[in-house]
């Protein structure tokens, strides 16, 4: 239960490379311009909020806004897949919609509208283009069999993705056995 390594906004240098991944893919010429801007901003452009030193029961830190080059955010991390797992595993992000009554929300996961990515052989996943918002992370070989990451039994790990930032959730044990 809970992460094995700290949650953070992308520290240098991986943050930069991830951002390039975001921006270079659709518009290479703009990406090159962006690289120059990032170099100009230096390491400060990609803040590292530090380690998640709290207990796994606590909520993850809320990233601060970053200069908005995009309306999108991103998320990456690593899921430790148990040895012997033969099925392909995927990460799905279920967007949370908050209701009019305080504290009540509902999540929706549908692969046709929810961001998803296959988990690599090393357990890593990368979702660079995600609408800002609150999400629950599911892991599974298919959507209907996916299991949410939890910070405690019955309590989902909620991530809040913001514009222009890529969130690294660190390393988590796989909820799929």
């Amino acid at each position: 239960m809970g992460p094995l390594s700290p949650l953070k906004l992308l520290p240098n240098p991986s943050c930069r490379s991830a951002r390039w991944g975001v921006y270079l893919a659709p518009h290479r010429w703009f990406g090159m311009l962006l690289i120059l801007v990032l170099i100009g901003l230096g390491g400060n452009a990609c803040r590292h909020l530090g380690s998640w030193a709290r207990s796994p029961q606590s909520l993850p830190p809320t990233p601060k806004p970053f200069t908005q080059f995009s309306k999108q955010g991103g998320i990456r991390g690593q899921i430790l897949i148990p040895s012997g797992t033969s099925a392909r595993l995927f990460v799905y992000l279920a967007r949370i919609t908050w209701g009019p009554e305080k504290g009540q929300g509902a999540y929706l996961l549908d692969p046709s509208i929810s961001p998803w990515a296959e988990i690599g052989p090393d357990g890593r996943f990368d979702l660079p283009m995600v609408e800002p918002g609150a999400y629950i992370i599911f892991v599974g070989s298919s959507p209907e069999g996916a299991i949410p990451l939890q910070v405690a039994p019955g309590r989902a790990y909620i991530v809040r993705i913001q514009e222009g930032e890529i969130l690294d959730i660190g390393t988590w044990p796989s909820p799929v056995r």
């Binding site: 908050w98 009019p100 509902a106 959507p143 019955g154 056995r177």
Partner: protein
Amino acid sequence: MNVQRIRVFLLIGIISVGLTGIAQAQSATNQVWTSSITYYTPSDTPGTLMISFYPEGSDTPITLPSISLAPHKAGSLFVGGVSELGSFTRGSAILSSDVPVVATYVQFAAPPETNNYGRLIYSGFDNGAPTFYVPTFLKRQFGSTSLMGIQNLENFEAEIRVRFYAVGSSTPTDDRTYTVPGGSSIIIPAHDTSKVSLPDGFNGSVVIQANRRGDSSIPARVVASAQETDDNGRGAYAFEGVASGADRIYMATMLCNAFGTNQTSYYAIQNISLTSTASVRVFFYDTNGNQIGQTPVQSVGPGNKWSVNPCSYISSGVSGSAVISATGAPVVAIGKVKDNIGMATAFVGQAAGGTKVVAPYIRWAATPTSEWRTYVAIMNVGTGNATDIKVYYYDGNGTLRATHNVATASNPLPPFIKRNTNPQAAGALDAGGNFGFSPPGGAIEVISDQPVVVIVRAQRDLSPPLGSVQRFAEDYNGTIVTP
């Protein structure tokens, strides 16, 4: 816009309530469950699916992002309640669409126990009724305990009267009225004394009646579903409540010690009249077109139920179908299947068939231990031979992957007899030997020249076994749609 609404009642989130004083290493009754919905549109034109989620006890829906439906798209979605702090909460959902949609609800154990328990599956409702029946309800009986959910489909507050009848009694053991906001739901675990007072060992049935709060002259439409979970085991299954009875009920699955694992079906038959006695008889058929047995006529009192084990009337090792016949009062029926390697399933007996039946949750894993496989039983409930039954397999993109000719003029399916199909037999598998996983989603349409009823078995084998449990399985009913 012609919005056709389907109703999917969800028993979402934490439904575990500890059984005080009973130590259990494994207990499906004490398990925490979560859920997903599989859906399919049989439409030839695209549409949009909209979802409203009602937190338990709330009449204020949370409207979720809409989903585009390609023609014949099959998909899966998770919907559930969550608090700001991440706690999962219960509720119900209404799915609406401008094209026909059918949906099936799939519930599975929350992590880390997801793969250690079976799945519960039932079909969504396309409408409700002021009266609903649940043919079986247990409290620590036969090793199982029931949980029932009732959803108010109206936009006004409803008084929902629920009567629990023990077998052999025409006087309810518990009779109480719940007030439920419009669109919202109530969940009644048999062992939750704040919701219902039943003795341990209760074995009975339930009658539900609803009206507008404070005005008994205005009926309120509700839907109901139920699940039964092992108190000291891993078995779990779910089924829909039934809105009306009939004098003839079709059971597409009838088993007596079949398939080498002693798979046996048990029928719970409820007389839904509260005033008249029903005279009930069950007829059993094999897959070769023969009637192979029948029960004597059994009197079933008002509101009461009768349990039938086919093995009392036919030989062992048989797989087939059955027809329940009643006079004097209408009945409803639930079928349960159990075996000696741990599987436990449930499905609803059907009063009528259709010439177009859809099943939205169809899968086939290349290896039976890696994921789920589905097997489909199709029973002809018409008056003549079915000479043209085709099963169309669609994937998650809405692409037709295979067509299986289940009955033809040269190979007809006689009345009351069943025949099977699955993605492998149909030739719907991809290069990896799978169906329904990539792209996510898979469904079938059964098109027949005679009305048919369809039962889908989903199962997964366990390797290594979990103690004595080597297989999880569950059944659900196909949904009749307008051709």
